[in-house]
Amino acid sequence: MNDSTTAALRWHDEAEVLGVRVRVFFFDPAEVDARPDFIGRQLPILQGTAARLLVPEGQRDTYRVGGLQAQPDAVLAHGNGLLCLSWRGGDGRALDAARWRQQWRADVMLQAIATAMAVAGQLQRPTAALWRGANLLCQFDPGPPVLECLASNIPAAQRYWDGVAQVSPAQLASFCEPRLRVLPGLAAEALHAA
């Protein structure tokens, strides 16, 4: 594993997956899940920081940008920006720290990014996209092709999903994933990763 030197946070590994830089932090779920505070439990890499929930724990707000509507599991204020955290999605299995790339689900990653886009668009603040799995926390840094694909395909996804007024992150992600897989640069990367 490569310890990331990114901004003093000790990520355990990182990789480029379908045009997204993924940073992962593994933890022991038995120990982390027993922590009393929300930050320590859901964002273990940020334990002890000044991040704070925008709405009380367990309450979900709705965020919209254009035709995209999302209900993130938690939104936190963190310094000069926001954290958009999702823990739904996925199959609930713990990922192997040595083989997590092969076990990775791109749809979960794209959903988390789309959810963060809705939060960032409505609140007009820079927002980090995070996903917490059974034994890992991930931060996503989407490249321009991924952001453009998600942003520009919202109307097309609305039409595809029977003309819904608001498309969900899951619907947008499932619409965009096959398109991202055939983008020239990302297709070669995906082939190499496989």
């Binding site: 830089r21 920081t49 920006g81 609140l123 007009q124 603040r125 980090a128 109307p155």
Partner: protein, 135 residues
């Protein structure tokens, strides 16, 4: 367009390295609502601006307006041509009506003899005739 900023890095004190992308605000009349911060940042609406389109919006009435202008132009041109050159004549290729026969005798030919009754004006009825003349 709505600007969306996604942080590329996470630090212990905040976020860093912003990537941004523009999102289409969507169809007018959709349920999306701008945030209070975005509305405040946008400032007051310009004078005369309104969320609702006025009746007879230009997008809908433009073809009708064009048609009206063209029709008015044609009517004006016809009226002007008639005022300057008199009533419109039929073109040369149009089948002309047969000439109206002259009431008087055709020169060079003798008028056929006509009975006395035929001398009565066509518009007169028998009730207005003189009895002598009718006999």
């Amino acid at each position: 367009m709505i600007q969306v900023q996604i942080a590329s890095q996470l630090t212990a004190t905040g976020v860093d390295g912003v990537r941004w992308v523009l999102v289409d605000p969507g169809e007018p009349g959709s349920t999306s609502t701008p945030s209070p911060e975005a509305a405040a940042a946008a400032g007051p609406a310009p004078a005369g601006a309104s969320d609702e389109a006025p009746q007879g919006a230009p997008g809908r009435s433009l073809p009708l307006l064009k048609l009206m202008v063209v029709g008015l132009g044609i009517v004006l041109a016809l009226w002007l041509a008639q005022a300057l050159h008199g009533p419109a004549r039929l073109p040369a290729w149009f089948p002309a009506e047969p000439p109206v026969p002259a009431r008087g005798p055709v020169p060079g030919r003798a008028a056929p003899p006509s009975p006395a009754a035929s001398a009565v004006e066509p518009g007169l009825t028998t009730s207005t005739m003189q009895p002598d003349l009718a006999a």
